[in-house]
């Protein structure tokens, strides 16, 4: 019995040493010349790892450009990347960024599953965040949280309008990936489509790890749907499209913004697939610049790169406007900051922290390239 | 009469390990069951202590029908047993083994946590002296010799509250000195009114020890009586010599 007592006393001792050293968590807003640290909360492993790499490339490019022009007021930008594994692991990742690296601001995350648990921690610690792509509507409720990518609620509405009005399809089937992104889009798409007078004749959710959709496709064929809205991730999406082709399901397939990436266009089954994506310009010259960032030479560039690039630039712009690394000041500045972005021409935030001006493009895959429809 | 068995039968597939076995054990007597190897003695023991389920027949103990009880219920109703190949808890000490056997309140967490535990030290010493096991209490059973493990098994059976003691080949594979010691132990167990039923294939170990003997062969009881009668009985010799 006494063995345990010694041990647990030791446990308390460590904590007290740790705790009593200092309770101050005043943020350092010294004007010294050491670098301004910005944290990157990205999925470096797991299913969304390719998006993580793209964001890393975009942010690194932006930082390199700013540093080459002498940084902000003579202070260089230093990036610290942490892996949130696109899951609740983001809690310990953001804890490290805020408490150990004492970052001035955070860029990211990509997945809403990581944003859910982590962003409230940034909000309660008063650390400004510019989300790269996590599009779950409720993430930007915090005052310190901004986003350079339109929330899911926009994408669901746009898709419903496009399918009903432009494509003129009245009976639609929707197959969504059962995670926060897929479910978020479906919850907006279905009611909007019904309001327009259309009929959601078949609705089903698939697991993110699922690769076999043949029985699902049989059900869609049986339902007599005139089009299929397919907000799923590329991994499942390519498999689904392959099986759709194999099973001669000859109806138009409309995907979500997750399909926007070379990895999807280059697959052999994406031909004629339409997808909606927020107008995130990823001009060729930008892609070229990304490709000569050290370590990303053979990266398959996707929209996460320009998004992360703009997120970092709008953050640094706000820091410049505040004239210091005072987090509360940066938060206020972000509300007024407006820059000409790469992903979106004008980056300005509304009261909630989402983009004011949102435009969606309809794209289609033609011979392994994504072109405007 | 403490234990009554009526036409107990146990079949493994086609063959009968025990066939229509009936016998009665007198209180405060040493009764022995002898017979060549494979005659069903151990199977009979396993049926009594319910390690095996009988096909039919029933067993009465202290007037109660215990045929349907589970193995731990039979043990709780007062039957202790030892094993031919000794079963001990390989990570525990001698003291642990005897504490487990002695205590009957350790199964309830509340009792074992809060009820003041009776100091068994004195009872443990008495039992260890009874079985001549002179080893420090905290030795792990894995450090005991074969003979010492036999004695500890015996000590546990004695420690557990019981009114009938089943001994399964108590001296099998034991050196002659220890054989006599065990014979002594069984004798003075019986002196303070212990009822003992033992199995042994070695006839002369049993002759001057048992008060009453049953002889088994091929799953059936072929003879029973006082030691003297059994020694001269022709059928017994045939069974053993197997002509």
């Amino acid at each position: 019995m006494q063995k345990v007592k010694i041990f647990l006393a030791l446990f308390i001792l460590i904590v007290l040493i740790g705790a009593c050293s200092s309770q101050n968590n005043g943020n350092s807003n010294s004007q010294s010349s050491e670098p301004i640290k910005l944290g990157l909360l990205l999925p470096l492993t797991g299913e969304a790892a390719s998006w993580g790499q793209n964001s890393l490339a975009g942010a690194t490019l932006a930082a390199n450009e700013i540093n080459s022009q002498g940084g902000i007021g003579g202070r260089k930008i230093e990036l610290v990347a942490e892996d949130d594994k696109c899951s609740a692991d983001s809690v310990s990742a953001i804890q490290k960024l805020i408490n150990v690296d004492q970052v001035t601001g955070v860029i990211g995350p990509i997945c809403s599953a990581s944003g859910g648990p982590a962003l409230p921690i940034a909000e309660s610690n008063g650390v400004p965040v510019v989300i790269v792509a996590a599009s779950a509507p409720k993430l930007t409720e915090g005052e310190y949280i901004f986003r350079v990518y339109p929330s899911d609620s926009f994408q669901g509405k746009e898709a419903a309008n496009f399918i009903y009005n432009t494509l003129g399809k009245k009976k639609i089937a929707i197959v969504y990936v059962k995670n926060d992104w897929g479910e978020g889009i479906k919850n907006v798409f279905a009611p909007t489509f019904r309001q327009l007078g259309g009929e959601v004749i078949y609705e089903d959710g698939v697991l993110q790890t699922d690769k076999d959709f043949k029985t699902l496709i049989t059900k869609v064929k049986e339902s007599g749907a005139e089009a299929l809205y397919l907000p799923v991730y590329p991994a499942g999406g390519v498999s689904a499209l392959k099986q759709i082709k194999e099973m001669n399901l000859n109806i138009p397939v409309i995907g979500g913004d997750a399909f926007d990436g070379e990895e999807f266009f280059k697959s052999d089954y994406a031909e004629d697939t339409i997808y909606l994506v927020a107008r995130v310009n990823s001009p060729e010259d930008f892609k070229a610049k990304i490709k000569n960032v050290k370590g990303f030479e053979n990266l398959e560039v996707a929209i996460a790169a320009p998004l992360a690039y703009d997120a970092l630039r709008v953050m640094t712009e706000a820091i410049k406007n505040t004239g210091s690394t005072n987090k509360a000041g940066i938060k206020e500045a972000l509300k007024q900051t407006s820059i000409n972005g790469v992903s979106t021409s004008k980056i300005e935030f509304d009261s909630v922290g989402d983009l004011k001006q949102v435009a969606y493009d309809v794209k289609v895959v033609r011979s392994k390239k994504s072109v405007y429809r | 009469m403490i234990l009554k068995i009526e036409c107990l039968t146990k079949r493994f597939g086609g063959i009968h390990a025990v066939k229509d076995c009936s016998l009665e054990i007198e209180r405060e007597k040493i009764t022995a069951i002898i017979g060549p190897n494979g005659s069903g003695k151990t199977t009979l023991f396993n049926l009594i202590s319910k390690l095996l389920k009988s096909n039919d027949g029933h067993i009465h103990f202290n007037g109660k029908n215990i045929t349907k009880l589970k193995d731990y219920e039979i043990s709780k109703s007062g039957i202790s047993r030892t094993f031919q190949d000794v079963r001990l808890f390989r990570n525990l000490t001698i003291k642990d083994h005897l504490e487990i056997s002695l205590s009957n309140s350790d199964e309830s967490i509340f009792k074992s946590l809060f009820k003041d535990k009776p100091n068994n030290a004195e009872r443990i010493d008495r039992i260890l002296k009874l079985v001549h096991l002179k080893k420090p209490l905290n030795t792990l059973v894995t450090d005991l010799s074969y003979g010492q493990r036999k004695l500890l098994d015996l000590a546990m059976a004695i420690a557990k509250p019981h009114s009938l003691l089943l001994l399964d080949e108590p001296v099998a594979g034991v050196n002659p000195v220890l054989r006599e010691e065990i014979k002594e132990i069984i004798k003075n167990l019986n002196k303070n009114k212990g009822t003992i039923l033992l199995i042994e294939h070695d006839m002369n170990f049993v002759m001057d020890l048992a008060d009453y003997i049953f002889v088994m062969d091929a799953g059936k009881i072929i003879a029973h009586g006082e030691p003297a009668e059994i020694q001269s009985n022709k059928k017994v010799l045939e069974a053993y010599l197997g002509d």
């Binding site: 041990f7 | 350790d106 946590l113």
Partner: protein, 290 residues
């Protein structure tokens, strides 16, 4: 500022110590190969989150989630009492997969893949544990109490029966002990404290979703007990520290960021296999299962 991060890690260590020691009671002391322990952790977390969402005070929700986790512990033993060895391990693994898919699909209760967010911080008799430091003191208090209770049980006569059940169940039955009942009690204690740890985790993290109770976490908690040494109380406690600090240390190495993620998993797997190869009884264990 570093101690905020240290506090965060210590809170998780406190929670996982309760989880590791409670698993050791079933696996190490009683020899029940329970691969489904994380399911009780998940059940405790979800029960507590759902109850507090319906407005039930924290302390009551904590107690109820322990009880419900305990009931599932009873259920698991009742269902698998005829199996042993590999097949018991398979059945408990199947049990945890089943619980995972229930969390994923019963969207009306558990929000399915969206998980439950905005779980309130615990308030004990009106006092809200706002800051992490207060939460840490609370977790330390609960961890010490739990460890003391479990330690007392292990050192009590009942604890001896657990050892005996692991070493030779038949031998114990012949001494008149109902080993099935002992296994029920052992699993109920084990799952009850796992539920407690689950509830603490939910209220600390503020957000839970099914993926945090899947294969990686099943094996993580199991590895802590194996590395610490089965049936070794202090082994589980110290191993929890070690297995938490090592992955966190890796964050500080200057590994090029785009290989950071996979490298970390590789190093973690190598540590696991290394311990199994070169120190099979674990750091403090003296017992192995067979």
């Amino acid at each position: 500022m570093i101690e905020n991060y240290l506090i965060h890690i210590l809170i998780l260590i406190g929670i996982y110590i309760i989880l590791a020691v409670s698993l050791n009671i079933a696996l190490g002391y009683t020899g029940l190969l329970n691969l489904g322990h994380i399911a009780f952790f998940g059940i405790g977390a979800y029960t507590s989150a759902i109850l507090t969402r319906e407005g039930i005070p924290f302390i009551l929700a904590l107690i109820i989630s322990c009880i419900i986790a305990g009931c599932f512990g009873f259920l698991l033993v009742w269902i698998t009492k005829r199996l042993k060895g590999d097949y018991l391990a398979l059945a408990t693994l199947g049990f945890s997969f089943l619980i995972y898919s229930l969390m994923l699909n019963l969207s009306s209760i558990t929000n399915g893949p969206l998980g439950i967010s905005g779980i309130s911080r615990p308030n004990i008799f009106g006092y809200f544990l706002k800051s992490n430091f207060e939460f840490l003191l609370f977790v330390i208090f609960i961890a010490i109490i739990s460890c003391m209770i479990m330690y007392a049980i292990i050192k009590s006569p009942f604890g001896r029966l657990l050892h005996a059940t692991r070493d030779d169940e038949l031998g114990l039955r012949v001494l008149g002990k109902n080993t099935i009942k002992i296994k029920y009690k052992a699993m109920i204690i084990s799952s009850l404290f796992a539920g407690l740890a689950g509830s603490l985790f939910a209220h600390y993290n503020g957000y839970i979703d099914p993926t945090s109770f899947m294969l990686n976490s099943i094996i993580f908690i199991f590895t802590i007990v194996i590395v610490g040494g089965i049936a070794s109380f202090k082994g589980s406690i110290i191993a929890t520290f070690i297995l938490f600090i090592i992955p966190e240390l890796l964050r500080f190495f200057a590994i090029p960021s785009h290989v950071l993620g996979p490298t970390r998993q590789i190093i973690y797997a190598l540590i696991l296999i290394g311990i199994l190869l070169f120190k099979p009884k674990g750091l403090f264990g003296r017992i192995d299962l067979e």
